[in-house]
């Protein structure tokens, strides 16, 4: 079979199995080694079901009635979007109960992560909690220790803010070299949502912190009773006790019925299924702030309480899941974020960091939130090395791998925010690489 015949045959298979060509079908061509592009597009247009829906023909769905209202009382994505889902890397953890799944960043638009595909991180699995049975206790060095039902909590003045949440291990598999084969796994321990809840400062005012109070212990209600010590300064700055995400109650995976969000800080400090806040005069040095989530340096010492998620960025189109389809103009997109505030600039390089061009923001720019950027590129069909480099409002410039390794070696696991490189191959496929 010659190449063209092979392509036609592939496309006919695709047309039979689905109404439309999807992103994943496009990937199938690349995977099977077809050298793409003009030929693929032409072949796609000649596939029977696609042709049947194109002008001048009236598509079938325009010649019949659709479903009634309430066919789905709670609407779900189209079945043609079913490939947009969380995925995990099985070898990372011994089971799926204390484990992590990743956000499908390559398929998402804008800066809000849909709640249903935001990455999961559990230390003892996902608890099922009836909000009627759930309570939040605030005690310790306070004048008036209290127990709040969810109804009580929701009576306090509420605040909404759009902020990212990122696991500090995001990208941690890449310290020693490129390892993961898709954006979902290199950067997907990340999401951004509009969070609604009560400022922790409001609750602390309600209970009256005693003068010697300096730290807060936050604790979850799940089997791990996940706990972290948080300095009072942060608690009084922007820590939010959250019960809603993207306009509706938190999803169970995100801590239903109530969680903490410490904007810009390690995701694990944003305790889910929150049941207890205690004010103390010193940190507690619990397992998740000593044995884990500390950063081992080459000299054998370890940094503790490394809370901030520093400025980072990544190109989301192209990426391994979104390969190039043809030479010529392409709208390159990506995401940038910083735990220290707003993103100020993002620059993009196509030659491995020799020359850079400033991208423009294509979303609103909120502090400590994902920010989307884009830039035009004329791809000549040759191999390219695509990078993005973000600068935040403090002037901090996202570092290179060489700079990060010089400062921290390769064994610190967490807080890897190096400039990332995608290699665009001549066949349009995109590969994860690291360069000198």
């Amino acid at each position: 079979m010659n190449k063209q015949a092979e392509l036609d045959s592939l496309l006919q298979d695709v047309a039979k199995s689905g109404e439309n060509l999807t992103v994943s079908d496009r990937r199938a061509f690349l995977r099977k080694g077809a050298t793409f592009l003009g030929a693929a597009t032409a072949a796609a247009l000649s596939a029977p079901s696609v042709r049947a829906a194109m002008p001048p023909t009236e598509p079938a769905y325009g010649k019949s009635l659709g479903s009634p209202v309430l066919a789905n009382p709670y609407g779900m994505p189209s079945k043609y979007e079913a490939h947009v889902q969380r995925r995990t890397v099985e070898w990372l953890t011994p089971d799926r109960i204390s484990s992590i799944s990743f956000t499908p960043l390559a398929d998402l638009k804008g800066i809000i992560t849909p709640s249903g595909v935001m990455f999961e991180r559990y230390h003892s699995g996902l608890p099922e909690i009836n909000p009627q049975e759930h309570h939040l206790m605030i005690h310790g060095l306070v004048e008036r220790p209290i127990i709040l039902s969810m109804d009580d909590l929701m009576r306090f003045p509420s605040v909404s803010m759009t902020r990212f949440v990122e696991c500090p291990a995001n990208g941690g598999m890449e310290w020693r070299g490129a390892q993961m084969d898709r954006l979902q796994f290199t950067h997907g321990m990340l999401g951004c949502a509009e969070w609604t809840g009560v400022l922790l400062s409001t609750l602390l005012q309600e209970v009256g912190v005693k003068p010697e109070g300096k730290w807060i212990l936050a604790e979850g209600a799940d089997g791990s009773h996940m706990s972290r010590s948080i300095p009072l300064e942060k608690a009084l700055d922007d820590t939010l006790v959250v019960y809603a995400q993207n306009g509706e109650a938190l999803r169970p995976e995100q801590g239903y019925p109530v969680r903490l969000v410490n904007p810009g800080w390690e995701g694990n400090t944003c305790i889910k299924w929150l049941r207890r806040l205690e004010v103390g005069d010193a940190p507690w040095y619990h397992r998740e702030e000593t044995s884990k989530y500390t950063d081992l340096m080459p000299d054998g010492r370890s940094r503790e309480f490394t809370f901030v998620q520093e400025c980072n960025s990544v190109v989301t189109n192209p990426c391994p899941e979104n390969p190039m389809t043809r030479p010529g103009k392409i709208w390159v997109e990506g995401l940038a974020w910083s735990g220290r505030g707003k993103i100020k600039h993002v620059d993009v390089s196509f030659d491995g960091g020799v020359t850079w061009r400033q991208a423009r923001f294509t979303s609103e720019v909120f502090p400590r939130a994902l920010t989307r950027f884009g830039i035009d590129w004329e791809w000549n069909g040759q191999t390219a090395l695509v990078q993005s480099r973000a600068v935040d409002e403090t002037g901090y410039v996202q570092p290179t791998y060489a700079q990060l390794r010089a400062a921290r070696g390769e064994n610190s696991i967490y807080h890897k925010n190096a400039i990332h490189t995608w290699q665009v191959n001549k066949d349009g496929s995109v590969r994860n690489v690291q360069i000198s």
């Binding site: 999807t22 605030i138 005690h139 390892q179 912190v209 040095y285 030659d351 491995g352 020799v354």
Partner: protein, 306 residues
């Protein structure tokens, strides 16, 4: 200057901004501004206030010996953490690794990495055993803490740990924790001629692209009831082989059990069974499951193991 030095974690900006706010939370005794919720009684606080600090604050009365800990450890911990604390099938190792923190592959354990004994007590008490957290009494937690330290050669076999001496047992790596030192890089926003193009070489290449999309049909198919039960209740042991459980997907292990007939397998799963190679607690220890749910999960595992 490329970077503001004011922006470290607890830096000047945050502290200054919070000082004015901070005034407002130092409230006087009396009622809160809103008065919502109910006062927490001492008894209620005691029930949930489980945290322990390095100075021993929070430890309940109690004691446990290394010897007591050894028995409990064998029964409740060794299946995951190994007889000598070496860790099994990817579950954490608890002992060893001394002097390895500057190696290419550091081995982090209680003995080589953790900084406070209180953390061991607190973590066992809050989250262990993995499948039954909050099931140990304080004496058992003292005994297990002592045994884990014994496995690391940090205390003798005749040691008895209690609330008065725990904080005195120091871990070797305690002095090696330091505050956050970021930002610790100083990249510049160069726009052109940033490096010699000839010097740009690949130093590391990820795996060949192996993205395999599931078909849409497979993805949107609703998980069968048996699979759902399996995932929530059964998978921990039946993916790892914990306690001699037949692993899902292992044709030999499952076909051996099926020689007794599927009804026998159902009965063992529902009523519990002590076999030659392992133990199946009744319904896996989840009494709330119906018999049908257990059967459905068995069906699912059998189907996945042919």
């Amino acid at each position: 200057m490329f970077r503001s030095r004011k922006c470290n974690v607890l830096g000047a900006v945050t502290v200054l901004a919070s000082l004015s706010l901070a005034q407002s939370v130092w409230s006087e005794p009396g009622v809160g501004h809103y008065g919502y919720g109910q006062p927490a009684t001492e008894e209620q606080i005691a029930g949930w206030d489980i945290d322990v600090r390095p100075d021993g604050l929070g430890l309940p009365e109690g004691s446990g010996s290394v010897e007591d800990g050894e028995w409990i450890y064998e029964a409740k911990c060794a299946s995951c953490h190994g007889t000598f604390g070496e860790g099994v099938d990817g579950y954490p190792s608890l002992a060893g690794g001394e002097g390895s923190l500057t190696d290419g592959r550091p081995h982090k354990t209680v003995g080589s990495y953790w900084n406070h004994t209180s953390t061991v007590w607190d973590y066992i008490n809050r989250a262990m055993p993995y499948t039954a957290p909050r099931s140990l009494n304080p004496d058992e937690v003292y005994a297990l803490t002592a045994y884990v330290l014994f496995l690391n050669d940090l205390i003798d076999y005749d040691f008895v740990m209690d609330d008065s001496n725990l904080a005195e047992v120091r871990l070797p790596n305690e002095p090696n924790f330091i505050p956050d030192q970021r930002p610790d890089t100083n990249n510049e926003r160069c726009m052109s001629g940033c490096k010699d193009p000839a010097s740009v070489t690949l130093v590391s290449i990820g795996p060949e692209l192996v993205i395999e999309e599931q078909s849409i049909d497979a993805v949107i198919e609703v998980a069968a009831a048996g699979e759902a039960v399996y995932q929530q209740y059964c998978q921990l042991c039946h993916t790892s082989g914990l306690a001699g459980a037949p692993k899902i997907g292992d044709v030999v292990q499952w076909s051996t059990r099926l020689t007794k007939g599927i009804d026998t397998v159902y009965r063992h799963a529902i009523e519990g069974y002590q076999g030659e190679v392992g133990v199946m607690p009744a319904k896996g220890g989840f009494a709330q499951l119906t018999d049908d749910e257990v059967r459905a999960s068995v069906d699912y595992m059998v189907q996945e193991s042919q």
